[in-house]
């Protein structure tokens, strides 16, 4: 998700704070993008959402813009958006393929993304067109390090 600037600014302010807000959860079995999306792979199906780190920086999610079932998604491109009290952020797909399911629960309860970013707050399921793309994603360890470096940079 393209939090970049807002997250960077929030992160830079966190660095100034004497009491940091604690560590965000990272799940071992998942893969991660540098725009803070996660993907869970089961066979050829990929479930996608945004990470705990992302939802923490965003704040209360008030609206989720979902794609249609059947839509095509491309690795690295935005397929929807997540909106918080503060601002809107695009959500990018970690993989290319076709959307098979969208989490329509998010229409009624967008805050699921805050409460359960890796489980009930999943956003879309995709039938992958090229599983090889997964190799370019980060694992849990790499993503954790990536977040630490990003937060420290600003």
């Amino acid at each position: 998700m393209a939090l970049r600037l807002l997250a960077s600014r929030a992160a830079s302010q966190l660095r100034l704070a004497v009491f940091p807000r604690g560590f965000a959860t990272v799940i071992n079995e998942l893969k991660y993008t540098d725009s803070h999306e996660w993907v869970k792979v089961e066979g050829n199906s990929a479930t996608i959402g945004i990470t705990d780190h992302a939802q923490d920086h965003l704040g209360d999610v008030v609206y989720v813009e979902l794609p249609e079932e059947g839509a095509t998604v491309t690795q690295g491109s935005a397929f929807g958006a997540v909106e918080s009290v503060k601002a809107t952020s695009d959500v990018n797909s970690p993989v290319s393929g076709k959307v098979t399911q969208v989490n329509s629960e998010l229409n009624n309860s967008p805050a699921l993304i805050n409460a359960s970013p890796y489980e009930n707050g999943w956003i879309i399921k995709v039938e992958m067109s090229n599983a090889g793309e997964l190799k370019s994603l980060m694992d849990a360890g790499q993503y954790t390090k990536f977040c630490e470096e990003e937060d420290a940079k600003h």
């Binding site: 600037l5 807002l6 008030v62 601002a87």
Partner: protein, 408 residues
């Protein structure tokens, strides 16, 4: 009234992410920490878990440990304490300070009873607003006013220029900018009960808009029963050396129910209350009549004029303004500043100037300007958010009923 275009800034920056190099944008858009001004409560905010952000050249808390939504709801259920020391307080003194100020603002300052204040606007020659401000007549030769942080330099230059010419014609006016004082805003149902613990003065006798100079927590403060949330509350101008102690005392007396609250919740609260944010809902080219602030133009001033832009403004009062500020409810994502408003025929009729998700109402609220004729409550519109059209309806403001303390 207060602040600058934070949400506008955040929104437009987020949208530009796709095109701009991340590092370049970060460096270009944000002042370094060393350049930002700090209020005397800076360390106190940080020690209380604040997320600090740059705002109008200051480092200010956008939120604390609780979320913006929780913070907003807590203000209306219990209370909030805001550090608004970034705003600029000033005093105008001298026997001609009232006629002097009346050239620059639309309010009937002469008609104010001593110890009362009102919201007003500084206008330019075209009748547009330079800034909005709360003006208080302390007495006939002393006016106290508070202006927006983001407009400080502009406002002070404007006042100074006019003061020079006024004095050169023999007028008696001088000013003092209260950089030695800090401003706290205490808002919500617990504001008065909590503050009462800290002062001997009977707060039940101080009504909305009224001003007193009195001791609070043992130090001499300027107290105004006003705010930017729609709730009952006070703005307390305190000598800066006592500000932290006062903030601590207020929080302690409330036994934790009044919480330190940041600019994020402040923006949600003022939007719910239907209050303008200068830089979004008020701008140099928007007149107070278009903004729905005709009530702030005193009756005598409408008859006499005598303020900058009077010709334009009085004409709008007589004929009706070409555009009007109204509120909206809408479906879909929250409408944000600069979202286009169209009528049901698909014609553009206006633009959103502020919007967001209301934590108290749990729905989208927004305000914007529409061509007159489209401004009646119940008018159905379409609002374009990120290229998609969503249904909206014009609604009266405030969105959340206000609770100003007025005599019954």
């Amino acid at each position: 009234m207060r602040g600058g275009g934070l949400w506008q800034l955040g929104q437009s920056l987020t949208r530009r992410l796709a095109q701009t190099n991340k590092k370049v944008a970060t460096r270009r858009c944000f002042a370094s920490e060393a350049d930002l001004k700090k209020t005397v409560l800076y360390d106190f905010h940080v020690a209380n878990g604040a997320k600090m952000v740059p705002f109008a050249g200051w480092s200010m808390p956008i939120q604390y440990k609780d979320s913006i939504m929780d913070s907003t709801v807590n203000c209306r259920e219990n209370g909030s304490l805001f550090d608004v020391s970034h705003m600029c307080g000033l005093s105008l003194k001298g026997k001609d300070c009232i006629p002097f100020l009346e050239k620059l603002v639309v309010g009937d300052i002469a008609g104010l009873a001593p110890g009362t204040g009102t919201l007003s606007v500084f206008t330019n020659e075209k009748g547009g607003t330079i800034d909005d401000t709360v003006v208080t007549k302390v007495k006939d030769d002393h006016i106290y006013l508070v202006v927006n942080a983001g407009c400080r330099d502009k406002d002070l230059a404007h006042i100074e220029e006019h003061m020079k010419s006024f004095k050169s014609k023999g007028g008696d006016v001088s000013w003092h900018i209260h950089d030695e004082r800090s401003l706290l805003a205490l808002q919500g149902p617990l504001a008065a009960p909590v503050l009462q613990h800290l002062t001997k003065e009977d707060l039940r006798k101080i009504y909305f808009g009224e001003f007193r100079i009195l001791d609070i927590n043992g130090c001499p403060c300027y107290l105004t029963r006003t705010g930017y949330t729609g709730e009952d509350g006070f703005e307390i101008s305190v000598p800066s050396e006592y500000a932290v102690d006062l903030a601590k005392a207020i929080l302690e007396k409330s036994e934790g129910k009044v919480r330190l609250t940041g600019l994020g919740a402040r923006d949600s609260l003022r939007l719910e209350a239907g209050l303008c944010l200068y830089g979004n809902d008020l701008e140099q080219h928007i007149t107070p009549v278009e903004a729905g602030l005709t009530w702030a133009i005193g009756k005598r001033r409408r008859a006499e004029g005598g303020f900058l832009g009077a010709e334009v403004i009085l004409k709008q009062i007589a004929e009706g303004p070409p555009t009007r500020r109204v509120g909206f409810f809408s479906a879909g994502p929250p409408a944000r500043s600069h979202s286009e408003i169209k009528n049901k025929k698909g014609e553009t009729i206006g633009e959103i100037t502020s919007g967001g998700f209301s934590p108290c109402l749990k729905k989208n609220i927004a305000m914007g300007y529409v061509k007159s004729g489209n401004h009646k409550a119940g008018t159905k519109v379409n609002i374009l958010v990120r290229g998609k059209s969503y249904e909206g309806v014009v609604t009266k403001m405030p969105f959340v009923p206000t609770k100003y303390y007025k005599p019954s």
